[in-house]
């Protein structure tokens, strides 16, 4: 029994808002559940009719069928450059930016908010006291408020901007006047990155061993070496081959989990990906 039922009730609502199932999952569940129910009914009918037709006429009770193993083989993939993308970004206007900030539950004085097609939320550059803070969504999180944040002092920001890695996303906000940063691939090859509006660089699905080099006006170099969680290749019993980024249960298992998988888009390094 709660001493303060009003607080308990508000907390329950807050917990549901924070962690409750997202609407699309509910819709997906509603869409799939009737189909599964019909399929299950059909399976029962077939079983009954088979039994009635004497398929098991040897008089012995049949052993229950084993649960199918959906995944036949798992192989760890070397991190793939083909999945990596440099994303373009658009600066959000005042009301839109404030709404996005409230939605993400981010605090601080907003300097710039970006919409980044291909990310599950917005990126914010904020002032907190004398610090510059960069907040970016967690690609593996389920809600806009699932995000990472990092801060840099005024002096550090002036030299190399502020950057962070959240999951397999890298983001950097650079002040005006800095040279363009460089992407260094695992084989040592380098490519110049072209920051989007207001100095934002975003790389999604970064490959292991990649580094982003940020040069200050004085010529000092900050090297951001990126490491990511390896991806597995799933060969399914039904012949499909999957490389999911987020694994929930057995990826080869039929709906609804495999509806969450998305194919990896081709490599884009022109800053206009999305």
């Amino acid at each position: 029994v709660s001493q303060v039922p009003a607080l308990r009730e508000l907390l329950q609502e807050a917990a549901e808002r924070r962690y409750g199932r997202s609407r699309w999952r509910v819709r997906l569940h509603r869409a799939v559940a009737p189909t599964l129910a019909i399929a299950a009914s059909g399976a029962v009918l077939i079983s009954v009719s088979v039994m009635a037709s004497g398929a098991g006429s040897d008089g012995l009770e049949r052993a229950a069928a084993p649960k199918p193993a959906y995944t036949a083989r798992i192989t760890r993939l070397p991190s793939s450059l083909s999945a990596m993308r440099v994303l373009g970004a658009k600066v959000l206007g005042g009301p839109e930016a404030q709404a996005a900030m409230a939605d993400a539950g981010v605090s601080g004085k907003l300097e710039t908010a970006w919409e980044v097609p291909g990310l599950s939320g917005h990126i914010f550059l904020l002032r907190r006291g004398d610090d510059w803070c960069l907040s970016a969504p967690d690609p593996y999180g389920g809600a806009p408020a699932d995000r990472g944040v990092t801060c840099a002092t005024d002096r550090a920001y002036d030299r190399h901007g502020v950057s962070l890695r959240v999951g397999n996303t890298f983001a950097a906000a650079l002040p005006q006047g800095l040279p363009s940063p460089t992407l260094r691939l695992p084989d040592g090859a380098q490519r110049e990155l072209d920051p989007s509006a207001n100095g934002l660089v975003v790389i999604a699905r970064v490959a292991d061993g990649v580094a982003v080099l940020i040069r200050s006006s004085e010529g000092t170099v900050q090297t951001n070496r990126l490491r990511i969680t390896p991806v597995n290749r799933y060969e399914c019993a039904d012949g499909r081959v999957l490389t999911p980024e987020i694994v929930v249960g057995d990826p080869c298992e039929p709906t609804p989990t495999d509806l969450r998988l998305r194919p990896s888009p081709p490599l884009r390094l022109d800053g206009r990906g999305g």
Binding site: S2, Q3, V4, L11, A15, R17, G105, A145
Partner: protein, 185 residues
């Protein structure tokens, strides 16, 4: 309907992102502890209630960052409470950032609720501790009331820090059961 009565505190926090109702059970278990903690340290039941709300909302928002094993979940919760209390005293106003982020409405309570919070604050912690075995009572008092480190407790009680943790954990679990029993009777 899933029942969380038999689930450990640590497991409740772990389950919350998937099963938000698990946090309700966690709240029920520790509501009195947190209310009492703040009521004994603040001027009024109103302030204690606001700080309690902020503490639980902050805990709710950061359950994914909770790492079980190093300390019992209630110690983590009291750590949040202590931090909020100090921040609020320093700023001269009750912290409300977590509640704003989750858009928690203002809590509407009546005089009866506030009286109950006062009672929780007046309840003697010593009386509850008397019901524990001496070694557990000493460990809980040192950790929760006196806010001392496990190393210090271990030194004083002449045991290892691991044993000190165990005693605190067991003592808190026993206290929780006692409170539940009292409410049920």
């Amino acid at each position: 309907v899933t029942s969380f009565r038999e689930v450990s505190d640590e497991e409740l926090l772990r389950l919350t992102p998937k099963e938000p109702r698990a946090f309700d059970e966690f709240y029920l278990r520790h509501e009195s502890v947190v209310l009492g903690y703040f009521r004994r340290r603040t001027e009024s039941a109103d302030v204690a209630l606001d700080l309690t709300a902020e503490t639980f909302v902050q805990a709710l928002s950061s359950v994914r960052r909770f790492r079980g094993g190093s300390e019992p979940a209630v110690a983590w919760l009291i750590g949040i409470a202590r931090h909020l209390l100090l921040t609020s005293i320093r700023r001269g106003k009750v912290a409300h950032r977590a509640r704003s982020r989750l858009r928690l409405e203002r809590i509407v309570v009546d005089d009866y609720d506030l009286e109950r919070i006062d009672e929780i604050g007046r309840a003697s912690a010593a009386a509850l501790l008397e019901s524990l075995p001496a070694d557990q009572a000493a460990a809980v008092k040192a950790r929760v009331l006196d806010e001392r480190s496990y190393d210090e407790i271990a030194h004083e009680l002449r045991c290892s820090p691991m044993v000190a943790r165990k005693r605190v954990s067991r003592g808190l679990a026993t206290l929780r059961n006692l409170v539940v029993d009292e409410e049920a009777s």
